[in-house]
């Protein structure tokens, strides 16, 4: 087993080194920024005062400003890098597993030796996947701690940084690995596979965003209090109409709420007739329920692409 690990790591040393270095840098950066944020030492009552919009004590203002500056100037870029990192390193690790073997002709040697190509693939994947998991796992944990530090202390809604920390980062990296492996096996060329893989991942990423929006809008909503909107810690999903009975109607149903005879501005008519335009959101508890769904979604995609990759490997002719 040690021999397999050593040899597979040696075979993919450039890609794996890059995966480890990039993930390590991102993870360490997240850890460093976390310590800087924690070092500011914003007391919980300062954050609470700010969130409740009741003004902040003089002692809080410089602390909140310092915290905000570090958050926006340092934590922002670090967390933003987590949007790209799992896709980039996943593809980087996944594409060469089969793609480069086919490209360089070594698949003929390997597949001429190993009676079971699936077993060969499993061994390759075990090593590459393990290194990827550890490296990206480190970055996902430190980014999660960074996000937790930020969320404890103040400011923006907890879901502003959705997908930029924690398990989702790791799950996305797994999916990118699987997509890279599959596309590499299909094309048999590294660079085209990387480009195609990036396009596939971009489509899947957009798809996950749409799925999240669709899911959120199907959840029970609450009306966000207009005066203390900043204190709302759930996820804003859009606007709606609140009638006098307390029933919430989607904003897009506005035209059907007004009589057909109304001409001109329907919104104006609704507001003049007892409807209140309100901001709708889902509670933080509800919104958090999406995280395991998205993680599971990426993992299911990973398994599907790995399965498809295994089928391609077992049926493909080595070039």
């Amino acid at each position: 087993m040690i021999t397999t690990v050593r040899l597979v790591a040696k075979q993919h040393r450039f890609e794996l080194a890059l995966v480890v270095v990039v993930s390590l840098v991102a993870g360490l950066a997240a850890g460093f920024v976390t310590t800087r944020l924690a070092g500011v030492g914003v007391p919980p009552d300062c954050a609470a005062a700010w969130l409740d919009s009741v003004g902040t004590a003089d002692r809080c203002t410089p602390l909140l400003e310092a915290f905000g500056r570090i958050y926006f100037e340092e934590a922002g870029p670090v967390l933003a890098s987590m949007a790209v990192l799992p896709f980039a390193v996943g593809l980087l690790a996944g594409v060469p597993v089969v793609g480069r073997e086919l490209e360089t002709g070594t698949a003929q040697f390997a597949w001429g030796i190993t009676p079971s190509r699936v077993r060969w693939l499993a061994r390759q994947l075990l090593v590459v996947g393990l290194i990827l998991l550890v490296a990206v796992g480190f970055a996902s944990i430190t980014s999660e701690i960074l996000e937790a530090t930020r969320a404890q202390s103040m400011l923006a809604p907890p879901f502003q940084n959705h997908g930029l920390h924690g398990a989702i980062v790791l799950a996305r990296a797994c999916a990118a690995l699987a997509v890279g492996l599959f596309v590499g096996a299909l094309t048999g060329r590294s660079l085209p596979a990387f480009i195609v893989g990036a396009i596939v991942m971009a489509i899947l990423f957009m798809g996950s965003g749409l799925a999240r929006e669709g899911w959120a809008s199907s959840q029970p909503t609450v009306v966000i209090d207009g005066e203390t909107g900043n204190a709302f810690d759930g996820q804003v999903v859009g606007l709606g109409w609140l009638d006098q009975t307390g029933t919430i109607h989607p904003y897009t149903d506005g035209a059907s709420l007004a009589p057909p005879t109304v001409e001109g501005d329907v919104d104006e008519w609704l507001m003049a007739n007892g409807y209140e335009q309100v901001q709708l959101g889902i509670t933080v508890q509800t919104a958090r329920a999406w995280v395991p769904i998205e993680v599971a979604g990426w993992l299911v995609l990973s398994v599907a692409f790995l399965g498809a990759g295994a089928i391609v490997v077992s049926r493909r002719r080595p070039t």
């Binding site: 021999t3 397999t4 040899l7 040696k10 075979q11 040393r13 360089t104 002709g105 070594t106 698949a107 003929q108 040697f109 597949w111 001429g112 030796i113 190993t114 009676p115 079971s116 077993r119 060969w120 002719r317 080595p318």
Partner: protein, 285 residues
């Protein structure tokens, strides 16, 4: 006679409606024989070997390894074969011994002790990376791995293509010595005819994917005469071709006296000069 390899109406083409790489090949290779697979580039030698490896899916007929169809039981077929690919594609970043250890992890029959001994005999350091080896050394390492698998069948796809004449001779000498000991069945694809006489006991001549000749070298030489075209008289030649000095020669199929026997090179050249050998198999369109 135990059959080690067989082709039964085997056909393979790389594009639907495209030309056939091999077509309608039917023959058997007896166990324990060392057979040369000869033909020009594009004759279908690699395709045929790759069909036995299960790397190519036949479009017609079957390729059999013993009684195993590699398309149905590739694991069993591969487990009984030692294969050297045309490109000697080893892992550039790995040392020689890395390859041995890796192979040992997949094939329990791999004799690492033998492989190490053999490589040391060739004067190669086990810790040398493949990227530092010459073409000949890579070929030797690839052959060592194939031989050390102790497989009953060896499929060697132009293993000597990148070797100089001396290295080629050495390579073949080692192959012959080892195969005599092990009794393995060998298919050696090559377009260097001198290689064949040194190492093989049978010959298969392919051109444009068609089988032109399959015989033991002894029988082939006993049954063919090469003579100047002028002295042909009433004999019907298989084909005419240019001799070493450019003189027109004819290859005739007839029982030959020892002094008349054609050389293997003349036989192969004669078959490759036949009209059948020169015309590609038409597209299916």
């Amino acid at each position: 006679m135990e059959v080690a390899l067989a082709a039964d109406k085997l056909g393979r083409r790389y594009r639907r409606q495209g030309p056939w790489a091999v077509r309608d090949l039917s023959f058997t290779v007896p166990a324990g024989s060392v057979t040369a697979l000869v033909g020009p580039n594009g004759a279908g030698k690699s395709t045929l070997i790759r069909c036995w490896m299960g790397f190519e899916r036949p479009d017609a007929g079957t390729a059999l390894v013993g009684s195993i169809d590699p398309q149905r039981q590739r694991d069993r077929a591969i487990a009984s074969i030692g294969y050297v690919a045309q490109s000697n594609a080893l892992y550039r970043a790995w040392a020689i011994d890395d390859h041995f250890r890796w192979v040992a992890g997949y094939r329990s029959s791999f004799d690492r002790g033998y492989a190490i001994k053999r490589v040391e005999r060739l004067g190669l350091d086990l810790s040398r990376k493949v990227s530092e080896l010459s073409g000949g050394e890579k070929a030797q390492v690839a052959l060592t791995i194939a031989l050390s698998l102790r497989a009953p069948i060896l499929l060697l796809d132009e293993p000597t293509a990148s070797l100089d004449p001396l290295a080629r001779r050495e390579f073949l000498a080692i192959l012959v010595e080892d195969v005599r000991e092990s009794g393995a069945t060998v298919i050696l694809s090559s377009h260097v005819i001198t290689d064949i006489e040194q190492a093989c006991d049978s010959v298969i001549v392919l051109s444009h994917g068609r089988l032109l000749l399959h015989d033991t070298i002894e029988d082939a030489r006993d049954q063919h005469i090469a003579m100047p075209l002028a002295s042909l008289n009433m004999l019907a030649p298989i084909a005419t071709f240019a001799g070493p000095k450019g003189e027109p020669l004819a290859l005739v199929r007839a029982a030959a006296e020892p002094s008349q026997r054609a050389t293997l090179e003349e036989i192969v050249l004669g078959y490759l000069a036949t009209p059948t050998a020169r015309s590609p198999i038409p597209d299916a369109r």
